[in-house]
Every structure is written in structure tokens, then in C-alpha cells.
């Protein structure tokens, strides 16, 4: 990521720690902070937004009712124009607010960046500055590493492929500019246009199919399965209670499949309670079981629940067979009752009592590490990184569309090049920058150049 252009841009981030809280804060800092945020804020009463430090209550882009704080430069934490939007603590809501501001032209703050700016604007003393220097070094490194290493393999391959395709087309545009006297075979305007259309289509496909899209929009699906009466529903309720936040009821919820989304360390997790799975001749129940099996198959993580107070049964065995191969956690409920179940068959079962609210901490922890372990990409760091990627991809798509527009208008190559270069730079934030040398290498290996 080019660090140089970054310093004077308007940045935005969720300022409160990941996870749930009563209040969540989105902080925006930089020259356009106020302009960007004001656009989407509708005060409830007619009030003047100008006086600093006076919070105003209002509606933010119909997302949430928020308190709007405006700190005029230099009288702010960072010394720049700062807006703080205090919303209700849900990460989903906060993320939507952030996304609105990203679309306005702000960019996601890097770790430690608010503090860095505070420092650069002389808001911190020397001792603090020393600490900041070390902090920035470690955090930026971490973010940079996370960015590449944690990107899901196939996605990064797709993006790299796209970058290569853009580069291959780009050299035709560039060669036509720099080598007008050479006898080289160039592409016609029509051929270039065709290629540009292909690139736009490709980036749209990648964006649609990208893993992080699912993560950001739907969260992780956790299915709770088990035979009837092992306490699935009470476990769901206990977990929801534990997380304190019922965020959005999922539309399309059927009577027999109950689900709710909670936030675990800021990551949206959709908990799905299924009807008990068993052999049944009863028509309604049969249908319910069919759906349960489907949910089970689509889930990212499965919580297999069994009853501590009853012995291992054929029914348990039937379900276990379906669950075994999945990313699953074994939960032995009703641990407060007398143990009848032989738990030695499981590696590390989690014993809880949904009713007595015992063992839920452990379950929470296991769930979290399971989430983070799922394809290695659901950690909090990665979550932030994903937002960055999504943002970069969005800009790259816009640049490619402009490229196509310029070609359609029959503009000369140097204008087309401006947008193509921008697209390469955007993707460069994910897979590494395309340097002039890369471009020249490609030109010299594609064309026989030189008098």
C-alpha cells in the first residue's frame, strides 16, 4: 500500500473495541470528516451543527439513531477535523455507518493511525511519541502481513490473475504511446474495448464470489443440531443472552428453523436452531427434519448437542454420522444432572448447563477459536483486512468502468492509461504494486522494440 498518499486523506474506523458494548463509536478524521458525515446525518430537532463539542441527536442514513459530535480542527484528538458518531453498540450497525463514509471517499484507518495523526499534529508529548513509534511499527507490519497471508488462497489467485490481465492490456495502450514509430502490432480500439469489457465482467464476478462478501453480509452460520429434547433451544437462548445482542431477525425464518445473529468479537454469527433430527413418519415433522438436514449441510460450524443425563442412542449416532465430517463442536448439555453419557467417545466435549448458565464461557471461547480457525480467515485482524480489500476492489471496478467509458468515447490512449493505472494501483493494495519496471518488462517481452 502506498503510504505516501495516505497522510492527508480522511480516515474512518470503529473506535470502540471489537465486540458488543452499550455504545459504539465511529470516528472520522481528516479535512473532509465533517462534510462527509454531515451529508448523511439528519438531526431530529432543527439545530445548528457548527458549535463544537455539542452532541446532536439524529438519524444517520436511516441506519441508526446516533449522537453526532463535531470537533473543529485543531481542537480535537487528532488535531484535524473530527466527527464522532455514537451509535448503539452493534458491530453490524457500526460497520454500515463506516461503509457509508467509505463510499463518500474516506478510507479505512490503519491500526494506530488516529494516534499517529495526533502525534504528527503535535497533540502528544515526547514520551508518548516514543511509544507511538514502536506501536506503529508493530501494528502496520501486522496489518500488512495479515493482508496477504490471510487472504483466502483462491481469491488472491483470482485477483492476481486479473491484475496480470489488466497489465497485459495496459502494455498495448502504453506501447502505442511510447513507440509510435515502431512496427509493432497493436490492438484496435474495438479489441481494446472488448478486453476492457471482459475485465469489468471479471472483477464483478470476483467481487460477487468473494468469501469476504459472505462474511461481511451474512456472517458465519452456526447450526445447532441434536436429537429432540437435548436442550438446543435453551442453548440458543443462553447463547443469545450471553451475547446480550439480538441484532436482526433474519427474514425468511420458518417456524421450525429459528435463527438469530449475534456478534462474537465483532464478527456476525448466525445461530440456527434446528428441529430435532430423527426418523419420523409424521409429515410436518418430516418436513422440518428435511430442512434441518439442509441447514446442517450449509453451516460453517455445527454445534452437536447431546444430553448428559441420557445414554448414547441410535438417534445420537444417526446425527453424529452427519456431523462428524464437518467443522463441529460437541456440546454436552445438562451437565448439572447426573452423568449417564459416556463422553470418552469425544475428543474435547464442552460441558454446559444451558439452564444453570454454566460452562457458557468455555463454549463462547471454543466457538470463537473455531470461527477463527475456519479457513483461517475469520479473525478480527482479517475482518478489518477484508473491509480494506472490499474497498480496494470497489475502487478498481470503478476505474475499470472508467477505462471502458474512455475507450467507448474514442479517447486517446494517454487518457485510457490514467484509469488503467488507477485500477492497477487499487489492486496493488491487495496483491502488491505494479511498478513501472513491471510494465516495461512486459512491453519489452511482448513487442520487438528498438530501432
Amino acid at each position: 500500500m502506498s503510504s505516501r498518499a495516505h497522510l492527508e486523506e480522511t480516515i474512518v474506523a470503529i473506535a470502540t473495541p471489537p465486540g458488543e458494548g452499550a455504545v459504539g463509536i465511529v470516528r472520522v478524521s481528516g479535512p473532509d470528516a465533517f462534510a462527509f458525515a454531515k451529508k448523511h446525518f439528519a438531526p431530529i430537532r432543527k439545530v445548528d451543527l457548527i458549535p463544537p463539542f455539542v452532541p446532536v441527536l439524529g438519524d444517520f442514513d436511516s441506519i441508526d439513531q446516533v449522537l453526532f459530535f463535531y470537533y473543529q480542527a485543531p481542537r480535537s484528538y487528532t488535531g484535524e477535523e473530527v466527527v464522532e458518531i455514537h451509535g448503539h453498540g452493534s458491530p453490524v450497525v457500526l460497520r454500515q455507518i463506516v461503509q457509508v463514509l467509505l463510499k463518500e471517499g474516506a478510507r479505512l484507518a490503519e491500526p494506530g493511525e488516529f494516534t499517529k495523526r495526533a502525534f504528527l499534529n503535535g497533540k502528544l508529548d515526547l514520551a508518548q511519541a516514543e511509544a507511538v513509534s514502536a506501536l506503529i511499527a508493530s501494528k502496520t507490519e501486522l496489518a500488512a502481513r495479515a493482508s496477504l497471508a490471510q487472504l483466502e488462497g483462491s481469491l488472491s489467485r483470482q485477483i492476481e490473475q486479473l491484475r496480470q490481465q489488466i497489465l497485459e492490456m495496459f502494455v498495448y495502450v502504453e506501447a502505442a504511446i511510447d513507440y509510435p514509430e515502431e512496427d509493432i502490432e497493436l490492438l484496435s480500439q474495438g479489441q481494446l474495448q472488448e478486453k476492457a469489457e471482459g475485465l469489468v465482467k471479471k472483477i464483478q464476478e470476483i467481487r460477487k464470489g468473494a468469501q469476504y462478501g459472505k462474511l461481511l453480509n451474512e456472517g458465519i452460520v452456526v447450526a445447532i443440531v441434536g436429537k429432540p429434547n437435548v436442550g438446543k433451544s435453551s442453548l440458543l437462548n443462553a447463547l443469545l443472552n450471553e451475547e446480550r445482542a439480538i441484532v436482526t431477525p433474519i427474514p425468511g425464518t420458518t417456524r421450525d428453523i429459528v435463527s438469530d445473529t449475534v456478534s462474537i468479537e465483532g464478527i456476525p454469527v448466525k445461530l440456527v436452531d434446528t428441529a430435532g433430527i430423527r426418523d419420523s413418519q409424521e409429515i410436518v415433522e418430516k418436513e422440518g427434519i428435511k430442512r434441518s438436514v439442509k441447514v446442517l449441510e450449509q453451516a460453517d460450524i455445527v454445534l452437536f448437542v447431546c444430553d448428559a443425563s441420557s445414554e448414547w442412542s441410535e438417534e445420537d449416532q444417526q446425527i453424529w454420522k452427519r456431523v462428524e465430517t464437518k467443522n463441529s463442536l460437541v456440546v454436552i448439555n445438562k451437565s448439572d444432572l447426573k452423568l449417564k453419557l459416556d463422553d470418552s467417545r469425544f475428543d474435547s466435549p464442552i460441558k454446559v448447563s444451558a439452564e444453570k448458565k454454566e460452562g457458557l464461557d468455555r463454549l463462547h471461547q471454543s466457538l470463537l477459536s473455531s470461527i477463527q480457525g475456519a479457513e483461517g480467515l475469520f479473525s478480527h485482524e482479517q475482518y478489518v483486512v477484508n473491509l480494506r480489500h472490499e474497498e480496494a476492489m470497489r475502487r478498481a471496478e470503478a476505474s475499470l468502468e472508467k477505462t471502458l467509458e474512455a475507450l467507448k468515447e474514442g479517447l486517446s490512449g494517454e487518457f485510457v492509461a490514467v484509469d488503467m493505472r488507477a485500477a492497477l494501483d487499487d489492486l496493488g493494495e491487495i496483491v502488491g504494486q505494479t511498478t513501472t519496471d513491471d510494465i516495461l518488462n512486459q512491453i519489452f517481452s511482448t513487442f520487438c522494440i528498438g530501432k
Binding site: K116, V132, S133, A134, A144, P180, D183, T436, F444, I449
Partner: protein
């Protein structure tokens, strides 16, 4: 013992040496040019052409800063062409074929007649360095010449070794001796030296060529001079010719590849990929049926024809065989055979953006010794080295152009932040802000700076100010003058409208029929110039037209530049110690110590320096300034 003293010594009289010596003298210093051969001052060793893509831009910039190259070109060129006119004006590029003798003589006479500039025909063989500061040179004859600053512009002469087939000869150019000894001085001073290679094609006798079998190419009917100070050029224009290689040529070359010093492994220097030898082209692009060959007269008065596109180091008889397979050249008589030349260069990360070496104070390097190729790249560096040598001696602020100001800035920034492994040539694709760095506005970008340095005289400056004002006034007028509900500015933005149409619009009060409905605020892409039609515009009219039609894109690039400038303006002081910066990555620290960037912007372009390193660097620089404030 014979001892002379000067402010500045310039070692070499090529394109870099001339600009360095002239700039130094004109800025008030006593300068001595030490050259192997007086009559070779300003010689065009290879293609007798100036300009081309990006290179033409460099020449315009040299002119705007008060250099000499553009002026001499206008006085001696025999074919002018504006390249790329089917594209927008940002990538138009002037190119001129010169009479190589007239060019050389004109430059030599300017140098020799320059008051305060002494030319010594000697070989400098040793740099005298005392306490990391250069204080003079010793010559082959044992003479010591004292100089407070030394600019080395040795071109291809430093341990030059020429190859033609199996034969090798020492020398920097055919018939001229190599420069020896200096490399040892540079190595002793701690500089890392490498080896590069370049080549030149054969020269043929005009009367032996059958031009009927070739395609005639004419220059522009109305040549546009290179120098902003010139209205016209000196000579009538003559044509060049084009022909093609064929299967027979290919075969003659391939059958003898083992005799090429390139392929037999005799040449170790790295050659330029953008200027390959004909043997390279045949091997690397085997499928290509034919290659273009341009036949370019080297002079109005001699019969020498330069065979452009045919650089080679094959044995003489092989050259003769394959050249004679080309239509028009069947009976070609060789005046000179092609050859490759290897020479020493200094990896340019070891110089500062002022072109002073990091290790030795007041020692400057310019031109091919910094790993570049081309007259224009050399001249640009010579000018910058000359200017900074004077500023150094005067203890004044250095003169550095950044990437958003000039191609010269791009050139030097690339050299110092990226170094180079092959001869470096300028391309427009190297410039991020290509749409702003145009050949037509180099005067607008740089004349003010040339004036401040003292290389642009009052008269020329006044002319520039008038032009600038006229452009400003006219744009203002177009914005304020309305026909119907549209300003002339809005009307000019339309692709189909050219500047002269506005006069008609004004008198008839009729808005021309629209091809498509004009949107209220045209998008950036709509404001640009359609491919050039051959219409005549004054310099002012052209600027007005470009500024208005390009406005959207210009504004976009200016925004980017504004951000770029903020880091670029963060200067890293000379005494800054990267060793003491906490938490830099190991590679980042090593590279920063090696490259010694001049600004944070430059540091950010060095490969191996991570964004985290840059953040840490900024914090430390800021801390330093806070620290100074407190005390």
C-alpha cells in the same frame, strides 16, 4: 610544476559535459572542461537525432531552464517531426534529425566562445580527494588542476572497449582513445562500479544506396523549433528513407550468431532492451518476418547514411552480407561498420538528487556514467550537475526537481531511488503525471525556476511573462463571454470545436450544431482533445485550448500531486542518522542507509522500505523537529 586553479572542472565534452560547463560558467564560476579531444565537443556518437518520445520533453525542459541543447538543435537540424500527433498533446513529442557536423561545430564554438570557460585537451586520470572532498584532478601528463568541484561526464569512454565480431579495441568511440585511471579513483573513493554495453549501426555511402527501392519519409511542412526562444529553424528540411529486412537478412545473421560477441559471451556489460542489436531482434522475436530499417542522412555536406534499426557487433563481413540483403542496400558501401562498446558506470543510487556523490563532497556525476543512455538524458543531468555544483560552492539551497515538475525530476528520482542495471532511457510511461508534464508547457513549468537560478535572462523572461499573462487573460475572457446561455469556454470543451471556431461563434452569435447534447457538467473524459487535425495555432492559443479541453484530467492529476507533494516536501536532513531510528525493518534500514533519500517521498519509493518504515520515519523526523522547538 604546472598548476592551475578553477572553481569547477568538467571531465568530458559530450552532451552532459557541455551543459554542465556552460551552466557553471553562466552562473558565474570559472570552469575548465578537460576533454580528450577538442574537436569532439558535442559530438553525436550514435544517431544524429535529438528528441523523440519523452526525450523531446527533456530537451524542452533543458531549454526552459536555460540549457543549450534545444537551441543548437534548431540551428542544425535537417528534418523536424512532431511525433504522436494522432494522440492528445500530452504525448506529442518533437524529434529532429541533425547535421552531426554542424551540431558538433556549433556546440564546440559556443563552448569555446563562452567567457570564463577554458577548454583543456588532456586526459584526467586521477581524482584528488582530501578528507572526502574532491579538490582537483591529475592528468596523464602529470599536470595537477585544482578545482573546488569536479563533474565527471565520461560517457562511454571510461575503460571503453569496442567489439566488432571477434575483434576488440580499447576506445570510447571509433578512432578515439578510452579514458583510463579515473575508475580506480572512483573505486578508491568507495563507489561501486558496474559495466554497461551499447551499440551503434553501420554508416553507408549515400551514392551506393538505391533509394528507389525504399520509402521516402518527409518531415513536418512547418517545423516547430525546440527552443521556446526560437521562432524558426535554420535549415531547409530533407527526407529520410525506410526499408525492411527479410528472410535472407535473418538467415545471414542466424548462421553467424556464434561470431557475435554478444552471443559468444565476450561482452559482459548489460545492454539496453529498448535498443537491441539486430541480432538480438532476430533471436528474441524469431517469428517476426521483417524489421524496419531507417536510412538517415548524417549531414547535408557528407555522404554518410546512418542505418537506424541495425545496431550490430557482428564481424565486418557478416555485417556486409546481411545489410546487402536489404532492398535498396544491395550494393551498399560501408563507411564505418557497426560495433558494440562496453564502458564503466557508477550505480547511480550512490549520487544524491543533486547528482553529487554521497561519499565525496563536491564530486558530481552526470550522463552515461550514471547508467543512462541518450544525449537528452545526459544533457539534462549535465545541466542539473552544473547548477548544483555552483549552488554547493555558494552554500545555497540545492536545485532539485520532483516527479510532478519535470521529466528531469522523474529521471533523476528514478536513478537515485531505483538505481539501474541496464542503460536507462526515458519513456513517458515512467512519468506518473504525464498529462501535466507536456512538451508544450515546459516553459510554463520551468522558466520561473531557470530565472531564479540565473540561467534565463531578463529579455527571455519578459517574453515568458507576457505569454503566461496572455494565456490567463484569454481563458478568463472565454469563461466570461457568453453566446446564448453558454460560455465560450463551455463551447470549446466540445470535442468537435477547435479554438479558431470560437471566432466564428462570436461573430455569428450562433452556437454550432451539436453532435450530442452538452451535459451541464461534462465528465472528465469529455473535456479532452480529439486527435490532432493539422490546424495552425499560436503558442498562446494552443495552451488555452489544451488547458480548457484537458481541464478534467488536469484537475485529477493536480489533486494526486497535491498529496504527493506533502511527503515530497518532508526533507530528511543530511545529518539524519537512520541507524538511530528505532523499529525500522532490517531491510528498510539497510536500504535507507545505502540510498540516503533526500525526502520522505523518495524513501517511500525505495524497494524494500515498507509503509511501516515510512510511518516510523515520519514520526522520528517530527520528533526531531519537536525536539528542536523545545530547545
Amino acid at each position: 610544476m604546472n598548476k592551475e586553479t578553477f572553481d569547477i572542472l568538467v571531465l568530458g565534452g559530450g552532451h552532459a559535459g557541455c551543459e554542465a560547463a556552460l551552466a557553471g560558467t553562466r552562473m558565474g564560476k570559472s570552469v575548465c572542461m578537460v576533454t580528450l579531444k577538442r574537436d569532439a565537443i558535442g559530438r553525436m556518437s550514435c544517431n544524429p537525432a535529438i528528441g523523440g518520445l519523452a526525450k523531446g520533453h527533456l530537451v524542452r525542459e533543458i531549454d526552459a531552464l536555460g540549457g543549450e541543447m534545444a537551441k543548437v538543435t534548431d540551428k542544425t537540424a535537417i528534418q523536424f517531426r512532431m511525433l504522436n500527433t494522432t494522440k492528445g498533446p500530452a504525448v506529442w513529442a518533437p524529434r529532429a534529425q541533425c547535421d552531426k557536423y554542424k551540431y558538433q561545430q556549433t556546440m564546440q564554438s559556443i563552448v569555446e566562445q563562452q567567457e570564463g570557460l577554458t577548454v583543456l585537451e588532456e586526459m584526467a586520470t586521477e581524482l584528488i580527494i582530501k578528507e572526502n572532498q574532491v579538490i582537483g584532478v591529475r592528468t596523464q601528463q602529470g599536470k595537477t588542476i585544482a578545482g573546488k568541484a569536479v563533474i565527471v561526464t565520461t560517457g562511454t569512454f571510461l575503460n571503453g572497449l569496442m567489439h566488432t565480431g571477434e575483434k576488440t579495441a580499447t576506445g570510447g568511440r571509433v578512432g578515439e582513445q578510452a579514458a583510463v585511471g579515473l575508475t580506480e579513483s572512483l573505486v578508491a573513493a568507495g563507489l561501486k562500479i558496474g559495466r554497461l554495453k551499447t551499440g551503434t549501426p553501420p554508416r553507408l555511402a549515400r551514392e551506393s544506396i538505391n533509394f528507389e527501392a525504399t520509402i521516402e519519409q518527409h518531415g513536418d511542412p512547418k517545423p516547430e523549433p525546440f527552443s521556446y526562444a526560437h521562432e524558426t529553424v535554420s535549415y531547409d528540411q530533407i527526407p529520410c528513407y525506410m526499408t525492411y529486412t527479410n528472410d535472407e537478412t535473418k538467415k545471414a545473421i542466424k548462421d553467424n550468431l556464434h561470431r557475435s560477441p554478444m552471443y559468444s559471451g565476450k561482452i559482459i556489460g548489460v545492454g539496453p532492451r529498448y535498443c537491441p542489436s539486430i541480432e538480438d531482434k532476430v533471436v528474441r522475436f524469431e517469428d517476426k518476418e521483417r524489421h524496419q530499417i531507417f536510412l538517415e542522412p548524417e549531414s547535408l555536406e557528407t555522404n554518410e547514411i546512418y542505418v537506424n534499426g541495425c545496431s550490430t557487433s557482428m564481424p565486418a563481413e557478416v555485417q556486409e552480407a546481411f545489410v546487402r540483403s536489404i532492398p535498396g542496400l544491395e550494393n551498399a558501401v560501408f563507411l564505418k561498420h557497426g560495433y558494440a562498446v562496453e564502458y564503466d558506470f557508477v550505480f547511480p543510487y550512490q549520487v544524491k538528487p543533486t547528482l553529487e556523490t554521497q561519499k565525496v563532497r563536491n564530486l558530481f556525476l552526470a550522463g552515461q556514467i550514471n547508467g543512462t543512455s541518450g544525449y537528452e538524458e545526459a544533457a539534462a543531468q549535465g545541466l542539473i550537475a552544473g547548477i548544483n555544483a555552483v549552488l554547493n560552492l555558494n552554500e545555497q539551497e540545492p536545485f532539485v526537481l520532483d516527479r510532478s515538475e519535470a521529466y528531469i525530476g522523474v529521471l533523476i528520482d528514478d536513478l537515485v531511488t531505483k538505481s539501474t542495471e541496464e542503460p536507462y532511457r526515458m519513456f513517458t510511461s515512467r512519468a506518473e503525471y504525464r498529462l501535466l508534464l507536456r512538451q508544450d508547457n515546459a516553459d510554463m513549468r520551468l522558466t520561473e525556476k531557470g530565472k531564479a537560478i540565473g540561467l534565463i535572462d531578463e529579455e527571455r523572461y519578459q517574453g515568458f511573462v507576457e505569454k503566461r499573462e496572455a494565456i490567463k487573460e484569454e481563458i478568463k475572457r472565454l469563461k466570461k463571454t457568453f453566446v446564448g446561455n453558454q460560455s465560450l469556454e463551455q463551447i470549446l470543451r466540445r470535442p468537435e470545436i477547435r479554438y479558431p471556431d470560437l471566432a466564428i461563434v462570436e461573430t455569428t452569435k450562433q452556437i454550432p450544431v451539436k453532435e450530442k447534447e452538452l451535459k451541464e457538467t461534462p465528465s472528465a473524459t469529455e473535456n479532452c482533445v480529439k486527435p490532432h487535425e493539422d490546424i495552425e495555432l499560436t503558442a498562446v492559443e494552443r495552451q488555452v485550448e489544451i488547458e480548457i479541453k484537458y481541464e478534467g484530467y488536469i484537475a485529477r492529476q493536480k489533486q494526486v500531486i497535491e498529496k504527493f507533494k506533502r511527503l515530497e516536501n518532508k526533507v530528511i536532513p543530511d545529518f539524519f542518522d537512520f541507524e538511530k531510528v528505532p523499529s525500522l525493518s532490517r531491510e528498510g534500514r539497510e536500504k535507507l542507509i545505502q540510498m540516503k533519500p533526500y525526502t520522505v517521498g523518495q524513501a517511500s519509493r525505495i524497494s524494500g522500505v515498507s509503509p511501516a518504515d515510512i510511518s516510523v520515519l515520519i514520526v522520528c523526523l517530527q520528533k526531531r523537529s519537536l525536539f528542536h522547538v523545545e530547545h
